[in-house]
Amino acid sequence: MDLVANNLSYKPDDQYHLNEVSFNFKEGNLYTILGRTLSGKTTLLKTIAGLLTPDSGEIEFDGKNFLKVPVWERNVAMVYQQFINYPHLNVYENIAFPLKQRKMDQSIINDKVMDALKSVGLLGYEKRKIQELSGGQQQRVSLARSLVKNAKILLLDEPLVNLDYKLREQLREEFKNLFSKGLADETILIYSTTDPRETMELNGEVIVLDEGKVLQVGSAKEIFENPNSLKVAEISNDPPMNIIEAKISDNNIKFEGINLEAPQHLSKLTEDGLKIGLRSSDIELNENGQEFEVELAEISGSETLLHLKRGDTKIIVSIEEVLNFKIHDKVKINFKIDRAYAFNADGKLAASPFGGLNGQN
């Protein structure tokens, strides 16, 4: 049972929330929608759920026109980024709610609710009121509520974004387990996120969305190795990929008075306005490297993010340890230039170290 969309557009004001979005989702698969905030992820999920009607385009599910099916008959489940539950019901009643709507037998409901509680680790919390739970527990309740239905389409709209770091890690781990555990057999799982790391970890088919437009579709590995444009490279890397305006001539990459020998995959590019893309993790501190000035140093977890400047070129370097720097310190860095990407003046991928597109073709 496939979920197919053709040219979905939604433009409630002067901006597109969805712009000619098409996709073909197959049952048993996990799809990750990656995009920055306001890129149209929630709009897309709401359209699939039936909470929004697109201005144009079609959605078909199992060969039937899905747009004609009212929300309450669509058999979808959705987990939102805010923890949405019923404030007037306790945990048990919350999870039983969708089953009661289907007028199931009380004993079946009971079994299913208990199963769901177990799978999200909330056994023993049945009688609690929703307001007495922590954010993570509230999100577990809404996850359990969506699991209990055995919906054909399960939508998760940035479910981890409002949780603190620890809980996010923990729940993400549990998600992976749940998704791999047969749940996805006949379910279409659609997961939206702003976090490229989450995309990589979930390892599903990725749809990169920006300003309501699908920029690229592919496996997590493909998106990581061969982002088809500057935009995708920015969205799918955190911190965003460094973009350096450089010239390639005589087999050398030149910028800000620096000369780097061009690796093979870049050596044949000669056109003007090239942009070199390099991940922040592909730059390292090195005594014999090029000198840059520290603009800002932020420590994030066990990483240090160095914002550096030389002339008009600004770059970010991530270092896998906690180091202290002062603003205006001089540091020397080395570029792992063999891992560099090149983009055309119009932002299209020109060459990738993974051979997605070569200077040649």
Binding site: A49, G50, L51, Y80, I84, N85, Q101, R145
Partner: protein, 287 residues
């Protein structure tokens, strides 16, 4: 907070309270123990005589009390149902929403006594427009002079006058509800009707209880409508407690006896409203 002069700051408020509430209540209790009437105006002491008369020898008071209970409960239920329906209607996105929101409030902006005079004219049995219209069908109900129909006339006028108040409270309640549970309910497979039963109505329970109690307190004082519309008639068939107390106290000047009725009425109202609030909380909030 331990502050030496804190009681000093309570005095202004306490003073007003004593003047307008505590003293009058104590005075009514004292008055109810006297035989003050037009022949014998004075605070003599006759013990519980007034109360004994009230409880053993005045069926008219109890009849008017049960009539009042019937009228207030019926009108409040009708106001709640109609008010909720109207509020629910303009809560959703419909055309001319703002227009309807104002329209439904118009009755509340009118002067009750004047409006009741107009209603009386409406329902006038031989000259009123209502019976003029109904004469087409060959019927002419005695809106104001039939003992049973007159009660319903009072109910119609009360409901017309005060439903907007209920509407306003319930609309404010609906607008303050969180939107998320409704999203969830739609996705969870609840049709619009089930959504109302399982989400809207339970979420509205606390506001509903408040609105019903406020209206019950107000409705248990029904007096002006009856006074203008039927003067308690025909006979005593639309007479309410407050109207009866008014007749005894301010027309017949049996001040002592009227005071004992007022005090009894106050105690009954406090007890019954407490019970009603408890029951409503239990039924609607399941607590």
């Amino acid at each position: 907070m331990n502050f030496k002069h804190k009681y000093f700051f309570l005095f202004p408020g306490l003073f007003v309270l004593i003047g307008i509430l505590i003293f009058p209540i104590i005075f009514v209790v004292r008055l109810s123990l006297s035989g003050w009437n037009s022949y014998n105006p004075g605070l003599d002491y006759i013990g519980l005589e007034n109360y004994i008369r009230l409880f053993t020898d005045d069926p008219r008071f109890w009849e008017s009390f049960f009539r009042l209970s019937f009228l207030s409960v019926t009108t409040v239920i009708l106001q709640y149902v109609i008010g909720f329906a109207l509020a629910h209607m303009v809560w959703k996105d419909i055309k001319f929403k703002r227009f309807f929101r104002v329209l439904f409030l118009v009755p509340m902006m009118t002067t009750p006594v004047i409006m009741t005079v107009i209603w009386r004219t409406f329902f006038h049995e031989s000259l009123g427009p209502v019976n003029d219209l109904l004469s087409v069908f060959g019927v002419a109900p005695k809106w104001l002079t039939d003992p049973v129909i007159a009660k319903f006339t009072v109910i119609i006028v009360e409901v017309w006058q005060w439903t907007p108040f209920m509407f306003l409270l319930l609309l404010a309640g609906l607008l303050s509800l969180p939107k998320e549970p409704f999203l969830a309910a739609a996705i969870d497979g609840a049709s619009p009707i089930r959504k109302f039963i399982y989400v809207t109505f339970p979420l509205m329970a606390p506001i509903s209880i408040g609105a019903i109690i406020i209206r019950l307190i107000e409705a248990s004082k029904i007096m002006d409508t009856v006074y203008v519309l039927t003067s308690g008639g025909p006979g005593t068939s639309t007479e309410t407690s407050s109207f009866y107390i008014f007749i005894k106290g301010l027309r017949e000047f049996q001040m002592g006896y009227a005071a004992s009725m007022s005090f009894t009425y106050l105690i009954i109202m406090i007890i019954s409203l407490t019970i009603i609030a408890k029951v409503l909380t239990k039924v609607l909030l399941k607590e």
